[in-house]
Subunit: 340 residues, 2 copies
């Protein structure tokens, strides 16, 4: 397990002391040159720089961090590193523009893993954490938060602790999807999505129920939240499409569900109107092309970093939840008419 690297005899790196000796100056002078302190004479500067490049010296950031008290790194605990992750990418970009590096770790949708990752980041004394929370309770973080750790939840709020959050406007998104299908003549609309123990699953399912209630459509047997597995989506879909008055349209609550639904429908995909929550790369290539509610990942990432820096500057500021608008992208599948 913990075999950490370094068995071999890796040549030790030159330190500031070595540079000082090489240049024939004091340690502190090298530090001054490295930090471009203007109080160093020009020819001393060049002598030190010569020594630096002669020895291939590069400062040890860990020592700098330790001394300075700041790490220049923010942690990003995301659900998954394998799938496309536009938010992580946006976080990376925004961080870079602040001179910060991103320590990305995946939580694999596992509560223990999440905790492990976050604690490891704390141990590394990151200057802040962006988290896509998976666990329902994050009170293990309360000590850190009380200590002033800037933490921003993305996509879902943290449970049990007060923390800044950036969320998508789930209710509005479901509303857009529902309206689009209604406008195109659908009355019997079904929803399949994530487990309601998950925040987004809960919000989206609730929003869907509200839409149905508001429009007076049929509700019973039309809402299928639950863990997203191939078989569960398949059976939910089968039940929704069978019986005397089957659904003519479907809203899927996340990418995984959308894909499983498409897999199940196969060549019959064109028979059922479909709007998926969340966009993905190939949605425009499918036949019919997929109508989606797209989240603004770039904006989410940027906002997360903004909140992080704001809290770092003022740990006492009130906790804030920012909701980012979503957008309906009509590509065809959501505009299919109901069968006559």
């Amino acid at each position: 397990m913990t075999d950490r690297l370094g068995g071999g005899v890796r040549r030790k790196r030159p330190t500031m002391r070595d540079v000082a000796r090489e240049a024939g100056v004091a340690l502190r002078t090298v530090s001054r040159v490295v930090n471009s302190d203007p109080t160093v004479g020009a020819h001393l500067v060049s002598r030190v720089q010569a020594a630096i490049s002669a020895l291939d010296y590069a400062p040890d950031e860990r020592a700098q961090q330790l001394r300075r008290g700041t790490s220049g790194t923010i942690g990003a605990a995301v659900r998954n590193l394998a799938d496309a992750h536009p938010v992580l990418s946006a976080v990376d970009m925004a961080s870079r523009s602040h001179g910060l590096a991103v320590l990305a770790m995946s939580t694999e949708d596992d509560e223990a893993r999440e905790r492990e990752a976050v604690m490891s980041m704390c141990g590394r004394r990151v200057d802040g954490i962006v988290i896509e929370p998976i666990g329902t309770s994050h009170d293990y973080l309360s000590a850190e938060l009380a200590g002033g750790l800037p933490l921003v939840a993305v996509d879902r709020p943290c449970g049990g602790v007060e923390a800044d959050a950036v969320l998508s406007d789930n209710a509005a998104g479901i509303g857009m999807a529902y309206r689009q299908l209604s406008v195109h003549g659908h009355r019997r609309i079904a929803y399949i999505g994530d487990d309601e123990r998950i925040f987004t699953g809960r919000e989206r399912a609730a929003a869907f129920r509200a839409c149905v209630a508001a429009s007076g459509g049929p509700l019973s047997g039309m809402v299928h939240p639950g863990v997203v597995t191939s078989s569960r989506v398949a059976s939910a879909l089968a039940s929704v499409l069978s019986g005397p008055s089957p659904a003519t349209a479907l809203i899927t609550g996340n990418v995984a569900t959308t894909i499983e639904a498409l897999r199940y429908l196969g060549a019959d995909a064109g028979r059922l109107a479909l709007v998926g929550f969340d966009d993905f790369t190939l949605a425009d290539i499918l036949r019919p092309a997929l109508t989606v509610v797209a989240q603004n990942s770039a904006e989410i990432g940027r906002t997360a970093i903004d909140l992080l820096t704001a809290r770092a500057a003022d740990p006492g500021r009130p906790v804030q939840t920012v909701t980012i608008p979503v957008e309906l992208i009509a590509r065809g599948s959501g505009e299919l008419p109901p069968p006559v």
Copy 2:
């Protein structure tokens, strides 16, 4: 730019010294308890642990790293954090099982960015680096490599320096694709892929030419390497499909090309036999489902970490290039017959 966080008054964290004072023991004893040194008496251990949890103490890993001389972190410089990145995910998994964390940074296919990212990792004294090289020359790394930095190139080799590498068997993959199309009756097979300045683009185009030569098929106008843009793929495809004897089958050299080709073909996708290099999530949902040459990302990631740890253990070992087999997954698009 470099505004680093920390403007606010973040409460300072408890240190080992604080714990020692709280528990009424010596500093060193706390360290012993933290590192579970067996030479500490049981009741002292519990007293120290009580103090630790009373103060919410967590050791500063940076100080540990500084003192121990090893960082427990490996850097991963990958082209892109936004797209699906199964190799990064595999690297993350494999690292975790070694007790290592992964510092992931994206290079955005930019040579300067790559250098910046790698140098930043070196400054953080990572124990090793996994890199998906983008630049053609990596001699800025020669000093680090000479110093014993374990570095493994993934997907493409580094240029100008000797370093371990894990590559996919590009030639075999193109061979499989070509054979599959031949077996299904195609004679006029075209190839569109990445720029030949890029290693994989070069290897795959060369392998394709070799296949054509070996089978005695037509070559002229059939090979289109170049930068992958929507317009270039479109015009290449148009040229390949026009004229008196158009191609009846196509091999695409990477995911981006595959997707652009599908976008261009639109509803006509079923008319052209197609095999894509590299698999992706929705390939099985397309109509017709896409036949691909799949790389073994999990194996690539695992092997990279293996090479890394091996070099860390023995910096003097010979540089090694490992080739990972690829696999043809027939889903339909590559098994379409030529039009009669």
